[in-house]
């Protein structure tokens, strides 16, 4: 392993879903990074990685957004993303999308090199092996497809979660299987998506877990939304929230006191 970088500058790519739905994930990510000496910044120029355009066949806009993102983060040693999906877009698909752009292809490649999914960055680059956090519960970790297949994330979150006090981990039998989110897939083919997420939720419940964790907000909103609709008492959190010990209500729920106030 290469030596652990000293106080690297890290651009936090917060992702649209974290920005809009779950700021606590962004703060958790920043805390985890700062705890190991990273200098974290959130460049103003960041918006969306462009994946919705890319996967919808709108390559021109995907390329525009790719160039924008690369420019916005050009000064950082590393770019860290609390999502395998947006991370995979940058790492795998930016060089692919800009393959015929002689000026931007080398930049895209260099950019891909320095971009990491959050938990794998902590584990693989910063050498983190344990965290000082406490979480009471039994959790099933859901591998997002892009984390697993595009970002090489599998052992890292499990290793770090094992160091969380009070937390037990369960493996899902179909852990290689997609939860059915798939970006616009979940609204374009809702019946198929529902079938997939229902399978996933059943497996989570059968595993005996009371909590589901993942590194991607897309999967989490899908799974949490289905768990809530089915009335299952299983909480959903982003893995960063648990690792950072951030106190927040589970995804799609409000804190008990707030709930009482609105009730």
């Amino acid at each position: 392993m290469s030596p652990r970088p000293q106080n690297p500058s890290v651009g936090l790519f917060a992702t649209c879903l974290v920005d809009l739905f779950r700021p606590s994930v962004g703060f958790a990510a920043a805390k985890l990074l700062e705890d190991v000496g990273c200098r974290v910044a959130l460049p103003r120029g960041q918006t969306c990685c462009g994946q919705p355009a890319y996967n919808s066949g709108d390559k021109a806009n995907a390329k525009r957004l790719a160039r924008r993102t690369i420019a916005a983060f050009r000064h950082f040693d590393y770019v860290v993303v609390p999502s395998g999906s947006c991370g995979g877009m940058i790492k795998t698909h930016y060089p692919e999308a800009l393959a015929d752009d002689r000026k931007w292809l080398p930049r895209a490649r260099a950019f891909a090199e320095k971009t990491y999914e959050l938990v794998s960055f902590l584990h693989d680059v910063m050498g983190v092996r344990d965290v000082k956090a406490r979480f009471e519960g039994i959790a099933a970790y859901h591998d997002s497809c892009s984390s697993l297949r595009e970002m090489g994330v599998r052992v890292q979150p499990r290793a770090l979660l094992a160091s969380v006090t009070g937390l037990g981990l369960r493996e899902l039998p179909g852990r290689d299987a997609c939860c059915g989110f798939g970006g616009t897939f979940c609204v374009k083919y809702p019946e198929i998506s529902n079938h997939m997420v229902a399978d996933k939720c059943r497996e989570i419940a059968e595993s005996g877990a009371d909590t589901v964790l993942s590194g991607d907000m897309g999967c989490l909103m899908n799974i949490a939304g289905k768990l809530l609709r089915e009335g299952r008492a299983i909480r959903a959190y982003h893995v960063a929230e648990v690792l950072a010990g951030v106190e927040a209500a589970p995804i799609g729920q409000v804190k008990p006191e707030a709930e009482e106030a609105t009730a």
Binding site: P23, F27, A30, L42, S56, C145, S146, Y189, P190, Q253
Partner: protein, 479 residues
Amino acid sequence: MTEMSPLHFKENAIRALGDAELQRALGNMRQGFIEKRTKAAERLPEFDALRDKAKEIKDHVLAHLDLYLEAFEKNCVAGGGTVHWAKDSAQARDIVLNICRLVGAETVTKGKSMVGEEIEINPFLEANGIRPIETDLGEYIIQLRNEPPSHLIAPAIHVNKEQIADAFRQHHRDLSPERPLTDRAALLNEARRALRERFLEADVGITGANFLIAETGSTVIVTNEGNGDLTQTLPRIHIVLASIEKVVPNFDDAATLIRVLARSATGQEMSVYTTVSTGRKRPGDLDGPEQFHVVLIDNGRSKLIGTEFQEVLRCIRCGACLNHCPVYGSVGGHAYGSVYPGPIGKVLTPALQGLENARDLPNASTFCGRCEEVCPMRIPLPKMMRHWREQEYAKRMVAPRVRWALRLWALAARLPSLYHFGARLAAWWLYRRGKKGRGRLAKVPYGEGWTRFRDFPAPLGKTFQSQWRGPRRHRRPSP
């Protein structure tokens, strides 16, 4: 009834999701195939290296396809075979019909052939007074049921034992209606007995080809039932239907592909039978056909050479992408409405039938990437589905509403201030609406597809960006 056209994918899929028998069959199938493949791959340490080699072989062939096809033709003819070139399905069908007519064929036995399904040879022969009999057990069952296959290597995967018994009772009228048909052995024996008679009375045997060997002009099939051997050795005439990308330089190359094929398909190290056919019966041979015909079928494939879809021609039809696909596993093969279901069909069908006739197929994917992960030929299937989506977008086949939404969003995403303002607005508005729902929404505008089956987690009021840059970056998650 499932509409056999990719244009009806959505309706077919919904029907399939509600079909309890199909769902049961799919559940069993998935786990079986996935476990078997995983174990087979684990038992062979060099499996991934073999995949690389297999890919290399096919890439080389595709770069020199004309050369190898001509070599195949030359060597096949030298061995006493006849090679026919078919530009499309219609030509291929006519070639087969002509051969059958020249020998006065009334009954034709058939080994399993996907390209035979593709050119719809069976209904064509029937319409011309020739009776085709499928001899692969799965194909035989679906032929009796008058259905297309629902899987590349397990064509009757969607049918259960009771349904098979029903089909047999309906068609094997010479047997006692009272006979018990509850166990697998009884079904198998009955099919075997029925097929034995057909093998003996057939005038022509049609098989597919897993590989064409350029060096020797031979064709190769792999089967598990031995029906292919009886199909091609008993009748006087043997016709091989093969698409042009099946050619490989020599037997060593075929051996490499065979090693990845069975492991990926069924988890076997090899299929039970690997049968090589080289030319017609020679003087002194104990058996073999008097005539050996090979029909080389293009049907749109050569158009893919040199395009971003060329790599799909590496496919060896193992079915691993189907077995591991969560969409195929949810809806089964018939929903795709095309001969090639699953991820491979999502790429191949638009190429063969036109994108306008198969628009849903490349879209109905979460891009989970599992198909590419298990493909022995390392075909980048999700990437190719994306290429089809790019063509769809470029040809303005995407609904204007979707196009405009994408454009507006992309415009905002290029203007960070506008984008962050929009995000703040959305976060606040959805938060307000979610307040009564205790953090979740049962309905959102344009989100009916989501909320019909799931709640929608509501935002917490403020965006991360605005909180981060808020009064002296307090760095506290919103309550």
